[in-house]
């Protein structure tokens, strides 16, 4: 009895002591930082976020000018990071899946090409690839005055790819609502198809209904609002194009490098996932005379996903963090505009780096949370934990 109490007191006492040490350690670090900053005569606090920034940014997804605050700079940088990470994650996943499956192809040429692609691009440092795409492509593109004309609507030059921008006039809400209705109907229709198939063994036809719905919705919208869309075509004015949407070369080359680099890792993860599915599964599917494509889609991939998702999450996190290499080629991400320009103007390194770290941490935690949810949704029910 007494012995039990003693060992537990020791155990919890030890835990508590370590915890106190850790807490005190953090307190000491923070306190020391504040004291030393004050002693150096450096300004501190987060008040600067409301001050006028006074500098321009080349790509902004929200309204921004030199008169905006440093807080706004933070938002602009954050959104630019999200944009490049989001676009790259989407295409890297797509490319990665294709290459991963292609690597296992029985077609000798396809599997060799995929293997060579993977081995080349995953073994070259990402920064070099970014530089390669940026300077390699930039040097070979003409100036805006000699821009490559793509059917008079889009222009490619060393200032980027400029495409017409769509203008949504009043009434375009109808079209958006109609599109949503169509998508929801499509989703419900497919569930109905499966239900009928399970009950009767026959899969009913869906497309005539969907076609009819499409025409009907289109006609209603057109009758009510007409065609409320228009485009602004880019025109050469002075040094540069005016109007339209410009995909700046920094964005394109950064996204390209991130996609091509990360897709190699995703491809290997996909290959590992597919190989982890027992051969017996394929053989059983063959025995049922299921075509190879369907075997892949309905039997192999769903089981492989359980193996694929956890390492895939890590790749998404890596990609997001790697996007901070943007600073090398002037893509205005959060590290470049906030932890770069703003940091130099304000000079409060501790606060600014702290905010930047918190944002990356939050972004990564949210990504892994979402993918963990998806993973537990996929996991085998009742399987060993």
């Amino acid at each position: 009895m007494f012995k039990w109490l003693k060992s537990h007191a020791l155990y919890w006492g030890g835990q508590l002591a370590v915890l106190l040490c850790v807490v005190y350690g953090f307190y000491w670090l923070i306190d020391n930082t504040i004291v030393n900053l004050a002693r150096q005569g450096t300004a501190s606090g987060f008040g600067f976020l409301g001050d006028r920034s006074g500098f321009g940014i080349s790509q902004t997804l929200v309204d921004y000018s030199e008169d905006s605050s440093y807080g706004r700079v933070l938002l602009v940088g954050f959104l630019n990071t999200l944009l490049v990470a989001g676009v790259s994650i989407f295409f890297a996943t797509l490319l990665g899946f294709f290459v991963g499956i292609g690597r296992l192809s029985r077609n000798w040429l396809v599997s060799r090409i995929c293997a060579v692609y993977i081995e080349v691009f995953r073994n070259i440092p990402l920064l070099l690839q970014i530089m390669f795409w940026y300077f390699g492509v930039l040097r070979n593109l003409p100036s805006p005055r000699q821009a490559i004309d793509i059917y008079g609507v889009a222009f490619l030059s060393n200032r980027g790819l400029i495409v017409p921008s769509a203008i949504f006039e009043a009434g375009s809400g109808f079209y958006i609502a109609a599109s949503l209705i169509f998508l929801v109907s499509l989703f419900l229709g497919r569930r109905w198809q499966s239900k009928v198939q399970i009950a009767t063994g026959r899969r009913p036809r869906l497309w005539p209904y969907m076609m009819a719905l499409f025409v009907a919705l289109g006609a209603i919208c057109f009758a009510v609002t007409g065609w409320p869309f228009s485009m602004t075509t880019p025109e050469l004015a002075g040094f540069n194009f005016k109007g339209g949407v410009n995909f700046i070369p920094e964005f394109v080359s950064l996204a390209l490098a991130l996609i091509i680099y990360t897709a190699t890792f995703i491809a290997e993860i996909v290959r590992a996932g597919i190989l982890s599915v027992d051969r017996g599964q394929t053989e059983a599917a063959r025995a049922l005379a299921l075509p190879r494509g369907l075997t892949m889609r309905l039997i192999i991939i769903p089981q492989a996903l359980r193996v694929i998702i956890p390492p895939l999450t890590s790749q998404y996190l890596n990609l997001t963090k790697n996007s901070s290499l943007a600073v090398a080629i002037a893509y205005p991400d959060i590290v470049s505009v906030f932890a770069g320009t703003a940091l130099n103007q304000v000079g409060q390194a501790v606060e600014i780096i702290f905010i930047t770290m918190v944002i990356y941490l939050a972004l990564s935690l949210i990504t892994s949370f979402i993918l963990n949810q998806y993973n537990s949704h996929l996991a085998m029910r009742g399987a060993a934990r």
């Binding site: 060992s7 020791l10 155990y11 030890g14 835990q15 002591a17 370590v18 040490c21 850790v22 005190y24 350690g25 000491w28 020391n32 004291v35 030393n36 900053l37 002693r39 150096q40 005569g41 450096t42 300004a43 006074g54 500098f55 321009g56 940014i57 080349s58 030199e66 300077f135 930039l138 040097r139 593109l141 100036s143 060393n158 200032r159 004015a237 002075g238 040094f239 540069n240 005016k242 070369p249 920094e250 600073v327 090398a328 080629i329 002037a330 205005p332 470049s336 505009v337 770069g340 320009t341 940091l343 130099n344 103007q345 000079g347 390194a349």
Partner: protein
């Protein structure tokens, strides 16, 4: 098993406590002079390579007018201008490196502004180059003035006053622009060279220096306008007045020497000069060295080993160098320029 674990935990907690007490080394006044003397060399923050200002030459030795300030401080403090450890810093790192004590002084084409002087815990000690922001464009663009750059793309270096000046100028003249900001000067220049931007903007001295790195330097021209005041100078950490004095007067000695006509060549023949100003400069009269905590020959060492300001200017950025910059506003006040140092007396 349980006891084993407890023992481990206790060892860990005791060790962390000890670590905490040992590492409590906070507040105590700094003495950079003593530190450099014990260490045997001065640490000096310089650029990552800007010809004429701080750039390694073909032998790997750092040269430039900013480097000469570092050398002058080392000559004054340690009697040997080679006892310097150069720390190349980018724009972003420079102030943090000085604040944290990684370098003893920063001599890195840095603009003296009120915000930096008062808000960053550093002190500027003088101006070794009066500069201003300019623009470089391709001759083929057919532009003769900055006012014609409406709608242009500008390549700039991240974390400089340049970004703000350009923004102010274009805004106040109601002109639109696109600003592309690179982390390193080399990438900025490479991108401009590749045609990403219509204009490259930085301090005018920098434009002349960077132009040498372009594929065809002669296809480019520097526009005549200067849109800002950029007094470049060395800076030190706040809180050590003695060190701040040393850096300030090491540079002032170089200006005074030029004004008095004392050069690295003739200094030994001027040892017995009748001119009392020269006598004081060379430490043969007065206690100026002692007041700074240095030996009497502090200024003699600077001029003998590094040279006066004019010599440093001509050797690094002057007419006969690749940069070919005129003295202009950087001439002595006696020649109609702005360089003026308080007297040594």
């Amino acid at each position: 098993m349980t006891t084993q674990r407890n023992k481990k935990i206790n060892t860990v907690s005791i060790m962390s406590l000890v670590a905490l007490f040992v590492s409590t080394f906070a507040a105590q006044a700094e003495n950079v002079l003593e530190k450099t003397k014990t260490r045997g060399y001065v640490t000096c923050g310089v650029s990552q390579g800007l010809p004429g200002f701080s750039n390694p030459n073909d032998k790997g030795d750092w040269t430039g007018i900013d480097v000469d300030v570092c050398r002058a401080v080392a000559a004054a403090v340690l009697g040997d201008d080679t006892k310097v450890k150069y720390v190349p810093l980018n724009n972003k790192e420079r102030f943090a490196a000085l604040q944290s004590g990684e370098v003893d002084l920063l001599s890195r084409n840095t603009t003296w502004t009120m915000h930096r002087d008062t808000g960053l815990g550093i002190d500027f000690t003088g101006v070794n180059y009066y500069d201003g922001q300019g623009f470089m464009v391709r001759k083929s663009l057919g532009v003769k003035s900055v006012r014609e750059l409406d709608g242009a793309s500008l390549c700039v270096n991240l974390g400089t006053t340049t970004e703000l000046n350009a923004a102010d100028y274009f805004k106040s003249h109601n002109m639109s622009y696109e600003i592309i900001t690179y982390e390193k000067a080399d990438e900025t220049v490479a991108a401009y060279d590749a045609g990403r931007c219509d204009a490259y903007t930085t301090d005018q001295s920098g434009l002349y220096a960077q132009r040498l790195k372009l594929t065809n330097p002669n296809d480019h021209m520097v526009l005549p306008e200067i849109i800002s005041k950029e007094p470049l100078g060395p800076s030190v950490r706040q809180g050590d007045a003695q060190w701040s004095d040393i850096v300030r007067w090491a540079f002032n000695a170089m200006i005074n020497a030029e004004e008095l006509g004392v050069t690295s060549k003739n200094i030994d023949s001027l040892q017995d000069s009748d001119n009392p100003s020269i006598q004081r400069l060379l430490g043969r009269d007065g206690t100026f060295g002692k007041n700074l905590g240095l030996e009497d020959a502090w200024a003699y060492n600077i001029i003998k080993q590094v040279g006066n300001y004019g010599e440093s200017f001509e050797a690094n950025v002057g007419k006969d160098t690749a940069l070919g910059i005129e003295r202009g506003v950087n001439a002595l006040w006696t020649n109609g320029g702005l360089q003026y140092a308080p007297p040594i007396r």
